[in-house]
Symmetry: C2
Subunit: 308 residues, 2 copies
């Protein structure tokens, strides 16, 4: 299934960091975006905060936004006609359920209701609707206008197909879960990796900056072109993953036993904070974000080129 975002009405609920990223992205790809937020102050500062993701997308794709963004404080107006409602409310079940009650009253029933939730699951959110089939979870990875992944779960395959087509039309890479899980896929993987990263620092094996450099110039770089399972397929020689599991499965299981289970004690927290400060080398968060985004844009442009 393919979709065309041209003039398609898409409503973004919540104009925080994630909502701003979605709004910039969908407008860039031609949608008629309505951006709603219950806080007048948040809505007022939204145009300024949209400037950077818009500029990033223009740099990435070589063209400016093909759609537009309307800023709306009236939720009834925001929900009148969207094909997709991307919900970015605070990560609170009661807050999201209250919003869903309004959506069910005000929005067209065929609209896809997609929650950007990171820490909650479809099972947490579905009880807020009389018709839970409307709901999917669609979790982006920060910064959402640049990182292509969107993790999807929903019980209605036809609705998921329509949603996937919309995200693909916005240049996203949708990935489906078969059952809901806390942290979806990506944050589970990130959490598992970070636990060991904390352990390495806590044990004094290497400092914060060394761990991050090893990741960026080693497995992180390789995982950006080759997944973890496939890496072991290629690491198994001619026998592939089957050969790997036969010959090196037992040593991998022993290595799992050797991995750490650190606590975020006050001492470890202080070590992490000091290590990050060293790694920052005086750069503030805005500078680090700008460096991250420039590097992501360079990599995404390299990926987009057809390989010769």
């Amino acid at each position: 299934m393919t979709a065309d975002l041209d003039h398609l009405p898409i409503t973004i609920l919540g104009a925080g960091l994630i909502g701003i990223g979605w709004a910039a992205l969908f407008a860039h790809h031609g949608a008629r975006v309505t951006l709603w937020d219950p806080q007048p102050e948040t809505l007022k500062t939204a145009p300024d905060r949209l400037a950077k993701p818009r500029a990033d997308l223009t740099e990435l794709d070589g063209h400016g936004p093909r759609g537009d963004i309307h800023f709306v404080s009236d939720i009834a107006a925001a929900l009148r006609e969207p094909a997709l409602i991307q919900e970015n409310a605070p990560e609170s079940i009661p807050v999201k359920h209250a919003l869903y009650a309004e959506i069910e009253t005000l929005a067209p029933p065929e609209a896809i209701l997609a929650s950007s939730t990171s820490s909650l699951t479809w099972d947490d959110l579905a009880p807020g609707l009389t018709d839970p089939q409307r709901l999917i979870t669609a979790h982006p990875f920060n910064p959402p206008h640049l990182v292509p992944l969107v993790e999807l779960y929903g019980p209605d395959p036809a609705r998921l197909d329509r949603a996937e087509a919309l995200y693909r039309a916005a240049g996203r890479v949708p990935v489906r879960l078969n059952i809901p899980a806390t942290g979806h896929i990506a944050n589970r993987l990130a959490s598992a990796l970070w636990r060991e990263a904390v352990h390495i620092v806590a044990e004094g094996i290497a400092d914060v900056e060394a761990v991050d450099r090893a990741l960026m110039h080693g497995p992180g770089l390789r995982w950006s072109v080759l997944g973890a399972h496939m890496a072991y397929h290629l690491g198994g020689g001619a026998g592939g993953i089957a050969g790997y599991l036969d010959h090196l499965g037992p040593s991998q299981e022993r290595r799992w036993q050797d991995l750490g289970t650190p606590r975020l004690s006050p001492e470890i927290k202080d070590t992490l904070i000091a290590g990050v400060a060293t790694a920052c080398a005086g750069r503030d968060i805005a500078t680090l974000e700008a460096e991250r985004d420039a590097a992501l844009i360079a990599l995404l442009r390299a990926r987009a080129k057809p390989q010769t």
Copy 2:
């Protein structure tokens, strides 16, 4: 400290996959490489197996090899004058210890003896030498001619400084461990991530291909430009890592509790093998490696460009 590889004698012990990668890399950057292997057949096929890494490096940097490679079956000749000995013997302590006894007899004492060992540590290897100060571990990440990371450990800071300068001159990113650890840094992180990747498949949350796609287009991509610790610094809002640890540390610890501890049972192995086969979509290992390397070259070229 900086180093010039031009005409520098470097000896590579072992002409398997890793040794071939090192030989191509150092010769590309100007060294006079001696490649030794005890198996005549391995040495005989080495020139053919060097063709691909050499072509990759030419494509990456836009120039051909600036040094050369000599194929030597006599270990005394191979060890006569190297500044660096990169050892890639099988991952067996007795095999490496026996080789180290020859090195100590035949090589100049000031030569750096660097082991590429992946699964052993400096503590395992040092008893093979009467002067263990000679030895460092210098673990590359596959494919070693393209992935920049080299993980270093050794007890002699001056020797480590010299080694770092040589690896940097070959375009590598050296990272130092403070104490030896099984799996160094990168394979500990990779092992921790893969454990959860296996758990996600084992629990039916998502299939092999979905997990790999989520990694490549989400955290993997981001980790190639931003380390795991720094990612939480940027995820903490204005408060940085300290704010993150205060506000979200407890939920991160809860998530750690929720991560899996799978076994590589026959059933899981079959699921992984079948999932990888689906993800391969008929591509054989050589094709997958060629795709991986082409993608790595494109990313490394994008990284090398100065950011505007």
